[in-house]
Subunit: 306 residues, 2 copies
């Protein structure tokens, strides 16, 4: 099984604390690296966590608040110092692209690689070799997006005994059937469905960025294997969550329950809470499969059926 | 004695390492805080070192390379989240000011305080209540400045026995004389020089930013109490120092010797050196009063004559 690993690089909200840096989440799958939001300090965490500067890298920015963006400059610069040549794909609200061009010039951030700019929008945003990225609008104080990273489906399980019973010899023809193509043997055509189970869905990770919960998001995140959700406040500060267009831990849990997520990770904690134990408790009362993110925490994402 | 403390917030060159962050140095003197360069991560170090977000703050930027600047955004944003009202003085090459205005708007960094922009230039740049800041041109790949922070002179030592011998009664008149003003007593005028020693020079800290050594800098930094100097490379990599317009540790030491600095601190180390022991050794052979900077290291600056 190919590992799909989510690593939290920064888990504070607007201001960092001694133990939490600004927002960023990494997703690794073999040579692929996706980074969701780039808070200040992300390059140091990429180094610390050994994520590498030369992977097939896609960066997804949810919105243009400084604390979700400013780490981008240092990350790109350090990739260049490491003589990266491969392009980086950058998905973001398009105003970021002009800012990045201007800033790179003014701050002499000479890039050794191309950036492929992909404007964030509702629906399918990007298809890579191993993932689809879809987005919807968040409910935040400025234009903001939520993302789902969806691994491509895998072929169904291959049943060797069925293939043998149908007289298909082991080897190339098995691979062909497993790949979803039919084969012809002794004048008979054998459809892959006869020897291969149904295609198995890939794993899905949902990332809310900064947002209020909403009906749209319950629908958008339906059935995700891992939901990473804004959990800035405790319930006692729900007035602040409402005012600043963030969510409480309990609201994150209610949404996870409503959208039938498999697991919930709370993140983007306000620095006012020295300890997030109470937020986790409030969330678990609603949705037991809840974990609190911490800087450096890694989580393996399992296949839905396994 | 009022303490004058230099704290190193980041001591790497262009890219951070696991133990060194990007360039920034803090100078504290009672309620005053000066920050020289603002590498990514500076706000986290300000927090870590307990420097406070509401001091009388002056920020001095040497040049517009990303690794010396990008931490500025987060620092200003976090000061605003802490509801700072006092202005911040920002000394920098003026192109930074436009960039900062544009970036603050685009990245929604709503400031709760004014920034007083002071363009860097040769000569006296800024006079604050306790310091003069002077600058000269560095020898780097782009326009860059070196700074000296010079504490104002203190009044000379007061000699009570001399005052008494001249018939000046203890109290207000002593303060007046100590403050450098004459007093009249029984028809006689007594000049402060009769009871007060010579004014004592304040402490001086020189900061090179990124530069090659030069004659101009030897002259500029003449006699500083503490010299913080570019020490990116070891002597074996002196070709790289030359090419990239940086200095070796040995060159920093030779300059410290030539300008009769009291103490030298090496900083801005290339991440290629896991251990800077060799750089320190090379420098000490030339200028024994040499220390290597480390993230979080604090140094007290002594008065010249003490």
């Amino acid at each position: 099984m190919v590992k799909l690993t989510v690593t939290f690089l920064g888990t504070s909200s607007a201001a960092p604390s001694k133990s939490r840096g600004l927002p960023a989440v990494a997703i690794q799958r073999e040579g692929d690296l996706l980074i969701m939001d780039c808070g200040e300090g992300v390059q140091r965490q990429v180094l610390e966590q050994g994520l590498g500067l030369n992977r097939d890298t896609t960066i997804l920015i949810t919105h243009l608040h400084g604390d979700h963006v400013t780490g981008l400059l240092g990350l790109l610069q350090t990739m260049s110092l490491a003589q990266r040549r491969k392009e980086v794909v950058l998905v973001a609200p398009p105003a970021l692209f002009d800012w990045l061009r201007l800033t790179s010039e003014l701050l002499h951030i000479g890039l050794t690689f191309q950036i492929r700019f992909v404007p964030a929008k509702r629906g399918l945003v990007l298809r890579t070799q191993h993932f689809d990225v879809t987005a919807t609008r968040a409910d935040h104080s400025i234009e903001a997006f939520c993302y789902i990273v969806r691994e491509h489906d895998r072929p169904g399980v291959f049943f060797p005994e069925k293939a043998r019973a149908l007289g298909v010899p082991e080897g190339k023809l098995w691979s062909r059937l497993q790949g979803g193509r039919k084969v012809t043997i002794g004048g008979r055509t054998i459809a892959p469905g006869l020897v291969v189970g149904r295609r198995r869905p890939g794993r899905t990770i949902g990332y809310s960025g900064d947002t209020r919960p909403s009906k749209r998001l319950s629908k958008f995140f339906f059935g995700v294997d891992l939901l990473i959700f804004d959990s800035t406040f405790a319930s006692k500060d729900s007035d602040k969550a409402l005012e600043r267009k963030h969510s409480t831990a309990r609201e994150a849990a209610a949404l996870a329950k409503e959208c039938h997520a498999k697991k919930l990770v709370l993140t983007h904690f306000s620095a006012r809470y020295k300890n997030v134990g109470n937020l986790v408790k409030e969330a678990k009362a609603v949705f037991p499969a809840t974990t609190a993110a911490a800087d450096g925490l890694s989580i393996q994402v399992d296949y839905p059926e396994e």
